[in-house]
């Protein structure tokens, strides 16, 4: 057990927990966030992606001990923002959502990318999403959605 403090979706959290726990399990089981999903449990698929200090990480391989003092944002928190609305609408309009299992992670990856690079090229978008596997869409429409979000949300990032 260890005392761990962090910000979760803008709220201060302090818990006494086993720091070995996967951040994924803590978010799903303790905080009941369903938007953080387990697709592989080994850092490969991105379904469990969240933002730590604005950067994408895969929560299935982040031990709780590593988030001490950090700011975590899950899709639940991010979906309260204006940027989310722009991305989400772009995903809908481009048809980028199919089964949806990868979608929250993809949106987190899109945010992490646009945050660093508000006007990415197609190549940069593909690299930005390269840790998020999607089996339904072939990525085409997701890439288009990020392009369109960057355009429509110009100035937000």
């Amino acid at each position: 057990m260890a005392k761990i403090k962090f910000k979760l979706n803008n709220k201060e959290i302090e818990i006494d927990e086993n720091p070995n726990l996967r951040l994924l399990d803590v978010l799903r089981d303790k905080f009941e966030f369903t938007g953080v999903k387990e697709g592989c449990g080994e850092g490969e698929c991105g379904a469990c992606a969240v933002l730590i200090n604005n950067d994408i990480v895969n929560s299935c391989i982040v031990p709780l001990g590593n988030v001490n003092g950090k700011e975590i944002m899950t899709i639940e928190g991010y979906s309260e923002t204006k940027k989310y609305d722009v991305i989400k609408d772009a995903y809908a309009e481009e048809g980028a959502v199919q089964c949806g299992f990868c979608t929250p992670g993809m949106i987190i990856a899109s945010e992490s990318l646009l945050n660093k690079n508000p006007h990415p090229t197609e190549e940069e978008i593909r690299v930005g999403l390269s840790g998020n596997l999607c089996r339904c869409t072939g990525y085409n429409m997701i890439v288009k959605a990020v392009k369109s979000a960057a355009k429509k949300g110009d100035g937000l990032w």
């Binding site: 966030f33 369903t34 938007g35 953080v36 999903k37 387990e38 697709g39 592989c40 449990g41 080994e42 490969e44 698929c45 379904a47 899950t74 899709i75 639940e76 979906s79 989310y84 989400k88 995903y91 809908a92 309009e93 481009e94 048809g95 959502v97 199919q98 089964c99 949806g100 299992f101 990868c102 979608t103 929250p104 949106i107 978008i125 593909r126 690299v127 999403l129 390269s130 840790g131 998020n132 596997l133 999607c134 089996r135 339904c136 869409t137 072939g138 990525y139 085409n140 429409m141 997701i142 890439v143």
Partner: protein, 698 residues
């Protein structure tokens, strides 16, 4: 009224985007237990002795002895056990569940279970035929006897894993005599019927509810019938809700995959370079059970001439049992294996008889009125010529073909032509399924779509609502399509075989017309429609004679690649596709299907390696089983043709599988051209390309 093809926003975008959609792993029930499967650790043998640890309170073992009904997963061919009894036939075969409230204790118990076996020699070769089908059209025998030349080639295809991003999972709840199974599944009624048989229960005692499904692609067609029956048996035994979510490794090791195959093709060629006849011999590796393999084999055999009409054919195929994980449904269902072989074969024939492959293929391309491989008739217009022209123009095919033909250019462009029979093979729709759909208008004039079709990302909920709103001329919001619950919706059949829009959607459209004719505002009304086989469709199942499918969708894929001569790696440059799916009910949804389908097909063709060594799957995680990422995927351009099918709703035919089946041959042909060596095997990995570049034949 709007053109139905005009896209609308999908109804579940919002909840899926923000993560509030409830998938099975998100379900918790107070007091819920967990289950872990204890599996065979050998490929074949007798179970001699099982030593169980002392079970703490609330922890239970569930095995075949607990099954009230039959120890068989009820599905098309009933040979799969729910739990192994005294023998095991593959590594990973389920023997029992350990069930209890705490996962750590369950794991500990699983570790302590000792199973002793008497090992037997497993079979991994194609020797043990469990099903043989063969049929003829015309007189291939004399064609081969009179041939000037016989051309023979062998083709081999590997496993393909569906790799839905959401692993398999199921939750069972129990109240009194009633068990409720909620899970990630494609076919609520398959599951219900399997559970009824396992529990020997009354119809009212079993209910199946679909959770939001995180991808399926066939992988959640029959497999969930196994896990649900296991959980239902466990719930009956201990009276507790139980959740079982597979870990990714477990999912990849023990769930069904696309059948590996070996296909021998022979062509009889005349003096004037005509193809007189085909012989095809197909072997499918079924793994340890037959399951759906017979149906997969039929689809493969029926596709033996691909998009071509060959008058004289002889077809033979076997389902071979091996002591490996059972294979099953995967988008395309036997067709991807066969179409790979056919498309490669047509090119290899062209090379041998020194003929331009495009000219040769055009000569045999099927036309309306031609006889199908099973002596049925292509009744509807075939517009492949236009589609091919379109694809060639968009991709600048001809010019590239010339440019890439040079020795030292490691680029290639490949084009595949293909068709996909829509709906169940043969009379399956009327004899096995007999779909029933209902529409209920409530007092507020909301129309509830009552069908068992599952939206697993292909957008069925949105398209069905669109059909109903279009027929009734009411806003989309006035229609309701909840996730299917077998207590509330009739059996409209499984969500498979590209049948949902064409068959179920057709029935829904008819029901909507009925409702329209009897519409009285403010009054409740339920209407139903049952499937009737079109009169002109005749099918002789035993001899493979007649119309195997009511309709066919058609497609052209063009893939452009570059191969690195230093590392033998393939880079996809661009993909163009043209499809005839009758009429798109929603353009954007079909385009999404097209993108996802083609990338799975191409992945199957060049990237996705899965093999079994000593009966064990070697690539058991997403690191080792490679599917394309966003940087592997090229731009995808898709064009849809309008060619309405008179019997489909608004002219729609099947679309879900068509988009996958041509990917592998297109990419393989592109690589073949880039390296100038004949390809006989998919996936065309860099390792294989190296071998070909060293020793392959031109």
């Amino acid at each position: 009224m709007k053109d139905i093809t005009t896209s609308v926003l999908k109804i579940d975008n919002e909840e899926k985007s923000k993560g509030s959609a409830i998938y099975v792993s998100d379900i918790t029930i107070p007091g819920m237990y967990y289950a872990k499967t204890v599996r065979s650790t050998i490929s074949k043998g007798k179970i001699q002795k099982i030593t169980l640890p002392e079970m703490p309170e609330n922890y239970t073992i569930v095995d075949y002895k607990d099954i009230p009904g039959k120890n068989i997963v009820r599905i098309i061919f009933e040979d799969q056990k729910i739990f192994a009894e005294d023998e095991v036939t593959y590594y990973g075969e389920p023997i029992m569940l350990v069930v209890g409230p705490d996962k750590l204790i369950i794991e500990e118990l699983v570790k302590q279970i000792k199973i002793e076996y008497i090992e037997e020699t497993p079979v991994f070769e194609y020797v043990n035929s469990a099903i043989n089908y063969n049929f003829k059209k015309g007189d291939a025998k004399s064609a081969f006897e009179n041939a000037d030349k016989v051309i023979k080639y062998d083709y081999v295809t590997g496993y393909q894993e569906q790799l839905y991003i959401e692993p398999q999972g199921m939750v069972v709840d129990i109240e009194g005599d009633k068990v409720t199974l909620t899970g990630s599944l494609q076919c609520p009624y398959y599951v219900k019927n399997a559970v009824l048989s396992a529990l020997d229960a009354k119809d009212s005692e079993v209910r199946v509810i679909q959770a939001v499904v995180g991808g399926a692609f066939g992988g959640k067609e029959e497999f969930p019938s196994l896990t649900t029956t296991q959980l239902a048996v466990a719930a009956k035994k201990i009276g507790k809700p139980i959740k079982m979510i597979y870990e990714r490794e477990e999912d990849m090791e023990v769930t069904t995959k696309r059948h590996p195959s070996k296909i021998n093709m022979e062509a009889a060629i005349s003096k004037d370079k005509e193809i007189l006849a085909f012989r095809a011999n197909v072997g499918l590796d079924a793994g340890a059970n037959i399951g759906l393999s017979g149906v997969v084999l039929s689809r493969a055999l029926i596709a033996c001439t691909g998009a071509y009409t060959i008058d004289d054919i002889e077809v033979n195929g076997d389902v071979f049992l091996t002591n490996t994980v059972p294979n099953g449904a995967y988008r395309g269902f036997g067709a991807p294996q066969m179409l790979f072989a056919v498309e490669m074969f047509m090119h290899h024939i062209a090379k041998e008889i020194d003929c331009d492959p495009l000219k040769l293929r055009l000569r045999y391309l099927s036309k309306q009125g031609d006889a199908t491989s099973t002596q049925g008739t292509f009744n509807d217009p075939i517009i492949m010529n236009d589609m091919i022209k379109k694809a060639m123009k968009e991709s600048d095919y001809k010019a590239k073909k010339i440019k890439y033909a040079k020795e030292d250019v490691y680029k290639g462009i490949g084009m595949s032509w293909f068709l996909h029979g829509c709906g169940f093979t043969g009379s399956g729709e009327s004899t096995h399924i007999n779909a029933l759909v209902k529409l209920r208008k409530d007092k507020n004039d909301k129309v509830h779509i009552l069908i068992a079709a599952v939206d697993m990302g292909q957008g069925i909920r949105t398209t069905m609502m669109k059909i109903v709103s279009q027929v009734l001329d009411i806003p989309l919001e006035q229609t309701v399509y909840d996730l299917p619950n077998t207590d509330l919706v009739p059996d409209s059949g499984p969500t498979v075989a590209s049948r949902t829009i064409m068959i179920v959607g057709g029935l829904v459209a008819r029901a909507a017309k009925q409702l329209k004719e009897n519409w009285t505002p403010g009054e409740e009304l339920t209407v139903s429609e049952r499937y009737k086989q079109p009169e002109y469709i005749k099918w002789d199942e035993d001899n493979f004679v007649g119309d195997a499918y009511p309709a066919y969708s058609w497609g052209v894929n063009i893939v452009e690649v570059e191969v690195c001569p230093v590392t033998y790696q393939v880079t996809l440059q661009h993909v163009w596709s043209v499809y005839d799916v009758g009429k798109a009910i929603d353009e954007r949804i079909i385009m999404g299907q097209a993108d996802g389908g083609i990338m799975q097909g191409i992945g199957y063709g060049y990237l996705e390696v899965m093999n079994s060594k000593d009966g064990r799957i070697q690539q058991k995680n997403v690191t080792d089983y490679i599917i394309p990422t966003s940087v592997d995927s090229p731009p995808l351009d898709t064009y849809l043709m309008d060619n309405p099918y008179p019997l489909g709703p608004y002219g729609a035919k099947g679309a879900g599988e068509l988009t996958l089946v041509g990917g592998a041959p297109a990419v393989a042909l592109a690589i073949e051209e880039a390296i100038g060596k004949k390809i006989h095997k998919i996936p065309v990995t860099p390792e294989y390309i190296m071998e070909l570049m060293k020793n392959g034949k031109n």
